[in-house]
């Protein structure tokens, strides 16, 4: 039997067939092409404690007297721990391997409660495109603006109109005298304008202009609203020179801005596009 153990042979001892079978044959690691070949070879001689190596699966197994079982190292991390592509292994406690399932696209590895986990990174400082479109007609209203951002940035490219004009901006469709523009330090400024001029374009044939308006803290309901305007357009007299402006604008209402109205003081939009970003 395979449990025959060890026999010390002395000089002159006779080696019997039974001893060869029990001490040598049955106590070696037998190598077989596969389990079927092993069954065939060991038919009638199976014995508890036999050890075999299967070439097709590269597995060492031991016969328990009833069946063959794998000789896995109990301290080895088992393949079955990983069930899904992208899974990783971590220690949930000392000497305790655990599975961390793959996260979702964009998630990053972080630590919570002393163990690793996947988490969606907090968004900050990024620009989210809320709307893009073409300028058309005589007025464009951007409505139902979400209040879930810190600032808004409006970018207008290649604005051109059918007539010399100013491009006017209003908030929340408010055309009362509640607007003003200023540059540098001002005092005693009144709100005498019914809109803010964010660009003035008298060139009706060429559009190479760029207008950027940043509306700060637009969703707060406690303060007047402040914005910063920077714009250039091709000059009225020559396409090789520009007109521009850089100033601050003020709207003296405390309600959240939910709508931006862009209107021409003359003519209709011939060309141009807009992008509205929400800034975290």
């Amino acid at each position: 039997m395979a449990g025959a153990g060890y026999k010390l042979f002395n000089t002159g001892d006779v080696l019997t067939a039974q001893q060869v079978n029990e001490y040598l044959m049955q106590q070696t690691v037998m190598s077989f092409a596969n389990a079927a070949a092993r069954t065939t070879a060991l038919s009638g001689v199976l014995s508890e404690g036999m050890v075999s190596y299967l070439q097709d699966t590269n597995v060492v197994e031991i016969y328990t007297g009833a069946s063959w079982v794998s000789l896995d190292d109990p301290n080895a991390i088992q393949n079955s721990l990983l069930t899904t592509t992208g899974d990783t292994i971590y220690a949930s406690a000392a000497s305790t391997p655990a599975r961390l399932g793959i996260g979702t696209t964009g998630q990053v590895l972080t630590v919570a409660g002393g163990v690793p986990s996947w988490a969606t990174p907090a968004s900050s400082g990024g620009f989210t495109s809320l709307a893009t479109g073409s300028l058309s007609g005589s007025q464009v209203d951007l409505t139902s603006i979400s209040g879930s951002y810190i600032d808004l940035v409006l970018v207008i490219r290649d604005y051109r109109a059918s007539a010399a004009n100013g491009l006017l901006m209003r908030f929340n469709a408010d055309s009362n005298a509640r607007y003003n523009n200023f540059v540098g330090l001002v005092t005693g400024t009144t709100f005498g304008n019914t809109s803010q001029t964010i660009s003035r374009n008298t060139n009706t044939s060429t559009a190479n202009g760029l207008i950027i308006v940043r509306i700060f803290d637009y969703a707060n309901t406690a303060t007047y609203k402040l914005n910063k305007i920077d714009s250039i357009v091709t000059d009225e007299t020559s396409n090789t020179s520009i007109s521009g402006q850089s100033n601050c604008g003020v709207y003296n209402q405390t309600g959240a801005i939910t709508q931006i109205n862009l209107t021409l003081s003359s003519g209709t939009f011939s060309e141009g596009s807009y992008i509205l970003y929400g800034v975290k």
């Binding site: 007609g137 464009v140 409505t143 139902s144 603006i145 979400s146 209107t263 003081s265 509205l276």
Partner: protein, 69 residues
């Protein structure tokens, strides 16, 4: 007579519609037009006055800039 077109882009839904201005919007549009015309007239008057002064002084605009700079 048809009124100017207004484009409304709903940021929340992404819906874009174009329609004629209603009466209130058209009234504001006309007020903007009048204000723009007044601004242009005022600007033209300023430019004429400036040119008249330059002519009186016998200098060009660039020379005036140099003088004041």
């Amino acid at each position: 007579m048809s009124k100017p077109i207004i484009k409304i882009h709903n940021i929340e839904t992404g819906e874009e519609i174009e329609r004629e201005m209603n009466d209130a919007e058209f009234a504001q549009y006309q007020a903007d037009q009048i204000a723009e015309q007044a601004r242009q007239v005022e600007e033209a008057a300023k430019e004429a006055a400036r040119q008249e002064l330059l002519d009186k002084l016998g200098i060009t605009a660039e020379e005036a800039k140099l003088l004041l700079g």
